[in-house]
């Protein structure tokens, strides 16, 4: 593989300590997160990721998972690498110490999520789903369930999965057919077929804990009749040892476009023993614990791959010599130059850089809001994080994918050849737009649910935060004109789109649904603009204080300037589209297509 990757530790340090001032926050446990400490754990985590996970990323893609005698075998080196992560205790980074975790914040966990995904996304997904299973049992399990499963999930001795999708239903969970028949108190017999189950089987752990959505007969119809069950691959005896194999089997594994080293399985449940998790008929809400976490994680996965594409294409653009370029004397060079000299290649690199750095700030800020929400029981922060979750999942994965394609483009024909590694990035990135709810569904969640929840309190809180920021900060005229004014204009675009939804959405939901994806993008573009304003304000603060402004910080100002001038104006275009509503869009009959 010829891709380049070094964990962007300076970036993380700058965002975490300088822009977000994380260790100064009054959040429980945050004062211990000194720059020395975070640098130490990030350095070690990045070392393991680049030395253990990265070397088997390309080989894992080529080899893929195998399905033999009813069992899934992961590619060469995966068992050993997973074991190394397990031994390192990295899986339990933000888990409760009561169950063997390290109790560190979600914000840090997200940074590791990015580094690990950059190095090997397929392997990271096994860990990520296990974490999601942990979080769901942690939030909804009874004490026996917690004591039985959590310690093993924290260490990744056992791994987890989420089982929603069935052959005839993915988005519309109300149509689920998998049945759960009561046997005794809390115990059920699960029968049905689940498809596309990531990490559904593999050789990385001794047991797999499936979280399965199913219907208990006689319950309400639709999503209200769905319950959630813990269905272990091997049943667990009272003393914690493994008992008999549960009545479930793997039907097959899918051949697919990317993430070849992560097994996507058909799972057949034939009267498997399952234990009710949380309340009966409240399964979908309970599963949302897992999905919200996973959605943030998916946005980060996409960002992680965009980062590798950026680093790789940057290296390539400095080495690949092609075409004459304009010299400082105004004449074209006599000999060909590295392609980074050409404005069109620069445009590609600047688009990557300005998106990635801004999007990274957005993911960390959202994680910090979540930490504040959970550790300090700050409802407003938690609400805002939930508003931003579909934006991170949907917008960052849409553009993150584009940015891997941009990286591929910089490689020219070599980008299309497998050997160079850019193709794998594009293939691996594509799934982020589809799973955990398609991006179209994220947009509907944002417009149909998150905007209105608590009477619109979350979006109001965001508007208030931005407005206060724009008015409170005293900045130079230059920063005011180049950063604050464009963000104020963009804020007006956002408000005009919101007003359109408010005026039309109740009468005619399709008017709002038609613009949902555009709105998700509008909010994404806007929030990243807000992040750039924060980043650049921080640099100018440092300048004012007489701190040394190194090349890294200088580049922040220029990159931010590029974003404000070249990307942020998209909000105007998107607002215009949104306000066109559904009239033209929906007027053809299906047979006219």
């Amino acid at each position: 593989m010829l891709t380049t990757y070094q964990a962007p530790l300076e970036e993380f340090h700058f965002l975490f300590h300088e822009v977000l001032h994380a260790s100064e926050q009054e959040i429980e446990g945050f004062s211990e997160l000194t720059p020395e400490f975070t640098s130490e754990i990030l350095t070690m985590g990045a070392k393991i990721a680049t030395e253990v996970m990265l070397p088997i990323n390309s080989s894992g893609d080529k080899e893929g998972c195998k399905f033999e005698n009813g069992l899934v075998i992961t590619p060469k080196g995966f068992v050993k690498a997973f074991d190394e992560i397990r031994k390192g205790g990295w899986a339990g980074l933000d888990c409760d110490p009561l169950y063997g975790g390290q109790g560190l914040p979600i914000t840090l966990s997200l940074i590791f999520g990015e580094i690990f995904s950059s190095c090997n996304i397929s392997l990271t997904i096994y860990k990520a789903l296990t974490h999601g299973t942990y979080a769901t049992i942690y939030a909804h399990g009874n004490s026996i369930q917690k004591n039985t499963y959590l310690p093993k999930l924290v260490t990744c001795e056992w791994t987890g999965t989420m089982n929603l999708t069935e052959p005839h239903c993915g988005t519309d969970l109300g149509m689920i057919k998998t049945k759960a028949e009561p046997i005794s108190e809390g115990e059920y017999k699960i029968t049905g077929q689940k498809i596309f189950i990531s990490a559904g089987d593999h050789d990385l752990s001794e047991n797999i804990i499936h979280l399965v959505l199913a219907k208990v007969p006689g319950g309400p119809t639709g999503v209200k009749g769905i319950s959630l069950f813990i269905v272990p691959k091997f049943l667990v005896n009272n003393d914690g040892s493994l008992g008999r194999k549960n009545n479930l089997s793997i039907g097959s594994i899918e051949k697919k476009m990317g993430i070849h080293a992560n097994a996507t399985c058909v799972l057949n449940y034939d009267g498997a023993t399952g234990y009710l998790l949380g309340e009966k008929h409240q399964g979908v809400q309970a599963m949302f614990t897992m999905m919200n976490e996973a959605r943030l994680g998916v946005g980060v996965q996409s960002l992680a791959l965009a980062e590798v594409a950026y680093q790789s294409s940057l290296t390539y653009s400095k080495e690949r010599v092609q075409g004459k370029s304009l010299e400082s004397d105004g004449k074209f060079s006599t000999s060909p130059k590295p392609i980074i000299c050409h404005p069109d290649v620069r445009r590609n690199l600047m688009n990557q850089k300005s998106f990635i750095e801004g999007a990274r700030a957005l993911t960390l800020w959202t994680a910090l809001l979540l930490d504040k929400g959970t550790r300090s029981s700050d409802k407003k922060s938690y609400g805002l994080a939930s508003l931003l979750t579909p934006v991170i999942k949907g917008y960052i994965s849409d553009i993150g994918f584009d940015m891997t394609v941009v990286g591929q483009q910089i490689f020219g024909g070599h980008g299309y050849i497998e050997e160079w590694g850019m193709s794998q990035l594009v293939r691996d990135s594509r799934i982020a737009m589809i799973y955990e709810g398609t991006n179209g569904v994220q947009a509907i969640d944002l417009v149909g649910r998150k905007l209105n929840s608590d009477g619109g309190a979350n979006i109001m809180y965001l508007l208030e935060l931005v407005t206060t920021y724009l008015h409170q900060s005293t900045v130079s005229e230059e920063i005011e004109n180049e950063f604050f004014v464009p963000l104020k204009n963009s804020l007006n675009d956002l408000k005009s789109a919101l007003k359109f939804f408010l005026d039309n959405g109740t009468k005619n939901p399709n008017a709002a649904l038609a613009g949902a994806s555009d709105f998700l993008h509008l909010l994404g573009v806007f929030c990243i603009g807000f992040m750039w304003v924060k980043i650049v304000s921080r640099v100018s603060e440092k300048k004012k204080a007489g701190d040394k402004i190194n090349k890294f910080l200088e580049a922040k100002i220029v990159t931010g300037r590029y974003y404000m001038a070249n990307t942020l104006p998209k909000t105007k275009f998107l607002a215009t589209k949104i306000k066109a509503g559904d009239k033209i869009l929906m007027s053809l009959e299906p047979d006219q297509f």
């Binding site: 020395e36 754990i41 070690m44 031994k87 390192g88 990295w90 390290q102 190194n550």
Partner: protein, 253 residues
């Protein structure tokens, strides 16, 4: 038994080193620094000896600028019990020469009454390969360099050394200084829980004068150059031509 492991902060082995434009040394500005890989192997061996119940305590020592504290934190996270940082310079570009390092280590060995000193055979920054030998001379004790296998049996240690002709087995009696080679073991990664625990392990800060050592450079750097670029290879058409080239052009046979 106590084991002392000196660890040095050096340019990370993955970093492509660049010579400063004035030739005064290599550029260390904004460069990733890590524990010298040979020292990591020495530390790993010490931890394994302790895990086998044959040592009670591991002390990691680093001598250099205050930034070496990071390296000691890594050592504590890997499994050292406590650490001593000797701040011998405030300039990260200054290398403390082997003789001064050996003198300071000697003073610490005496103070701490350590029997076994495990160190890397050399630091990958300047490849001196001298500290262990000097320390053993100052201590007046046995030494075994370039160890690829270390077996403890009471007061005796059987050491397999990597020498030009192959492997040599020697037996030393404690106290002893052993310098380790690449193939001795594969060092572990510090685990997250151990990094967290290491925050509470003691790290003592000292200065050379606490050990009555005056740090002064005896060597003078005249110039530093990038290694010559490798020349393109050629294809030979026959064995005879190859032999001829090896004899006359390369002069190796």
């Amino acid at each position: 038994m106590k084991i002392l492991v000196p660890v040095k902060r050096v340019i990370d082995y993955n970093v492509k080193v660049r010579v400063k434009s004035d030739g005064s040394g290599v550029d260390l500005a904004n460069i990733k620094m890590s524990m010298n890989p040979f020292d990591e192997i020495a530390l790993e061996e010490a931890i394994r000896i302790k895990e086998a119940g044959k040592a009670d305590e591991i002390i990691a020592v680093s001598i250099g600028a205050s930034q070496s504290q990071e390296t000691l934190r890594t050592a504590l996270a890997m499994g050292a019990d406590r650490a001593i940082l000797v701040v011998a310079t405030d300039d990260v570009n200054q290398d403390i020469e082997p003789l001064d390092v050996a003198k300071i280590l000697h003073a610490i060995v005496v103070e701490e009454r350590t029997d076994l000193i495990l160190c890397g055979k050399q630091a990958i920054d300047n490849d001196m390969n001298a500290t262990a030998q000097m320390l053993s001379a100052l201590m007046g004790c046995s030494q075994a360099t370039f160890a690829s296998k270390i077996e403890l049996a009471g007061e005796k240690i059987k050491v397999t050394r990597e020498v030009d002709g192959g492997l040599q087995v020697v037996e030393v009696t404690l106290p002893s200084v052993i310098s380790v080679d690449l193939r001795l073991n594969e060092p572990r990664y510090a685990s997250l829980p151990n990094i967290m625990k290491a925050k509470r392990k003691p790290l003592e800060q000292k200065e050379p004068k606490d050990f009555n050592v005056l740090v002064k450079n005896r060597l003078e750097i005249i110039e530093t150059n990038e290694p010559a670029e490798r020349m393109a290879g050629i294809k030979v058409s026959s064995v005879d031509e190859l032999v001829e080239k090896l004899k006359n052009d390369a002069g190796v046979i």
